[in-house]
Structures are given as C-alpha cells and as structure tokens.
Symmetry: C2
C-alpha cells in the first residue's frame, strides 16, 4: 500500500483539518515537509503536528519560490525522485500543503511528475479564502455570479479587465503587488467592497476594511482580498 | 452563547468533515435542515448525522430552489424569523450546508438577513470542486493562472467569453444547461480538457472523461465539469 499522499491542512487553524487528513497522517512512514525558504520552517507542519505519530520520519525539503521556473522544476524533480524511491521501497509518504493541494500548491507540480509513476492519493483541504469568508460572515458569491480566484503573483495583466467585468473576486498572494492592486481597485471604485486579511487565523493576523488603513509593512505573502460587489 | 451557526459539511464523504464542524454539531440545541424539495430529504444531514447528539431537535424546512427570487426570499425570510426567535430564547441553532456555506449556498441569504440581528458563526467546508480535483488527482490551477468558478444556472451569457480567455475553470450545477454547455465546450475545442462528475462521492457517482460519453439521463443537479487547459 505504499504511495504518495498529498494532504491539504487548511489555512492555519488545526480545527479546520478534516477527519480524512488526520486518519492519513496517522499511517504515514515518511512526511515530506515543504519549506519556502532554505532552512525555513514548514507552516503546514505546524498546523497538523499534534496528529503526527512520533515514529513518522520527517524529511524537510526546500521548494524554491521563484519566478525562475527552470530552477523551481529542477528542485521539484529531484524531490520527486526521492519520493519515488521511498515509495518503491514500500514507504507511505505524506506531503502536507497549506490550504488545498489542487489550488496553486507546489504539490501540483510534484503530482504531475509522479502520478503516472507511482500510486498517488490526494486529500482536499479548506482554502484560505473559504475560511476568511466564513470567519468574517462575508459571502464569496451567490446566485448566477461567477467567482474568480486571481493569484497576484505576476504581471496582473488580466486584473484590470476582470475587476471591471466581475462582481465576485478573490485576490490571493497580494504581497509584492499590493500598490499596483490598490491602484486598480481604486480605479474601479471598489474600495468599499474589499476585505483585506493578512495571515488569516495566525497570531500575526491583520484585518483591514479599507485600502487606506493598510500598513504595507505588516502584509505577509499570505494576504488575501475578498471583493464582492453584491453583499 | 445562543447564536446561529452555519456549518459546511463538504460534498458527501463524512470523512471530509472538519474537526470544527463536528465539535459544533455536538453542542447544538436545534439543527435546521434545508431541503430543496417540499417533503424531501436533507443531503447535508445524511453526511453529518452520526455526529449529531440524539437530544438535538431537528427542524426540517423547505427552501424553494426556483428562479422566482421573490418567492425564494419570502420563504427564507420566514425561516429567518424562526431562527431569530429560537436564538433569542437562548437556543444555539445550526444550519448544515453541502460544500462550503459561502459559495452559492442558500445559507448566504439567511446570513444576510440575520447577521446584523443576532450572533452568527460560520464554519467553512470542503467544496465539491476541491474534492473532485483531489479525488481524480487533477489540479484546478497553478502558477499565475486565475481560476473561474461558474454556476451554470442561468443564461450562460458570459460563458462563451470566459471559455475563450480562461485556462482553468470549474462549471458547477451543469444540469438543465448541459446541452448548451456541451456546445460551447465543443466550439472552443476543450473536449479533451474536461472531467465531468455527477454526484461526486455518492453511491450514484458517475464520471466521464469526454462529452460524448455522457448519458444525460444520469446527470444530477450536482454535476461539475473541471476544465484545465494546462494539465
């Protein structure tokens, strides 16, 4: 029954783990812990560590968060090779991921390299934007309105058009791009339809109900803006 | 501590309940069960019933699923009145919802009527599309690609444009509109990028890897199409 299991652990609160995630964590041989900085800590591990048996072998690996896709894919390919050899030697290997594993997660790249090579199972997780919407009693979308999830990690080339045509949006990873995102939101007169949350569910959480309040020094990589013109 | 608690129970598998949902279910006085047909069963209840103590009072209410918004809002306003009177008499009232409560759920309308009147707490749930993506090891989106969630419940007026400009989409509630959706997918040559799932996670689940295989008689209201041009 050796395989790779990708496990979504949700955005921060251990109570948002699913029963399935917990059952699976308890039967692992090896847990691969992704870190975004060399020598850094795995945030996903901190969310679920109380459910990981002591006998599970923890293997921390550095997944570079970089715009250099070749460098990133080379690092992931090397880790995929390790995962493959572990599973072929009979081990069940877990990979924990913040939020949901199928939504902008490094796990997706690992999955593509391995799903035709070894058995892979994936456990979904609560998304950051879903948890924020519930946490603030603010609907993401209703009726026949589409919901657009937009990662603010690159050139934002479509964001202007989407802000003008869409009613319900989630802007994820608003961090380095905050000033440009802010300018677009102001241009579309959406200042009053925004909820801005940095590090949701963590001790360092910051919430802003308007753009002018934002202290850019406090914004983390995990900054999310919910926009809903209808509610 | 009386309040309304909206509880996402996920798409079908009880193992996809969160620890928080289970903890909250165990402390309710009243559980409001939405049904989509008069006299029908609550699917959300079946997912979580093993965690509901016997002493919890079950109150089934009919939430009409209709395009007549006035009729729908009148029914919801009446139920909101009941919830308000229960909470004012000291009861903790739960409302279970399939998937996530903030994403196309009737709960959203109830929430809007009550959140300024009584205390309301909301617990997020695993979405159907997140669970389907994990269940089939198919990424929803990656990198800087937006993800568009599109409910196929109305005139599909934006769908043509979105299918031409977007790489990653989730089409929800593809049911009455299947033939029109199919024609648009074929027009955009996306047949091979589709995964079609009806009643995910239930005994009646059907999976199709192409449009031509679909037996329209088998499609349920809960039919989802994942489109990803990149993976």
């Amino acid at each position: 029954m050796s395989k790779l299991i990708g496990i979504g652990v949700g955005p921060g609160d251990p109570e948002l783990l699913t029963l399935k995630a917990i059952r699976v964590l308890e039967k692992l041989d090896i847990l691969l812990l992704p870190t975004g900085r060399s020598g850094g800590e795995s945030e996903a591990y901190h969310i679920c560590k109380e459910y990981i048996p002591e006998l599970v072998s923890l293997e921390k690996r550095y997944f570079p968060m970089t715009n250099d896709k070749d460098m990133m894919m080379a690092a992931i390919a090397e880790i995929a090779g390790e995962v493959k050899s572990w599973t072929l030697s009979g081990k069940t290997v877990g990979f924990v991921t913040l939020g949901d594993p199928m939504l902008y997660s490094t796990y997706g790249y690992l999955l593509k390299l391995l799903r035709d090579e070894i058995e892979v199972e994936t456990i979904p997780g609560i998304t950051s934007f879903g948890a924020i919407a519930s946490g603030f009693n603010k609907q993401l979308c209703e009726g026949d309105t589409p919901l657009v999830i937009y990662p603010c990690v690159d050139d934002l080339k479509e964001l202007d058009e989407l802000l003008s045509t869409q009613k319900s949006m989630v802007l994820m990873k608003v961090y380095k791009s905050f000033e440009r995102v802010k300018a677009l939101i102001v241009a579309h007169h959406l200042e009053d339809d925004c909820l801005i949350v940095s590090n949701f569910g963590k001790a360092s959480q910051k919430v802003y109900y308007g753009l002018e309040e934002v202290n850019i020094e406090e914004l983390s990589y995990f900054t999310t803006i919910l926009i809903n013109k209808e509610v």
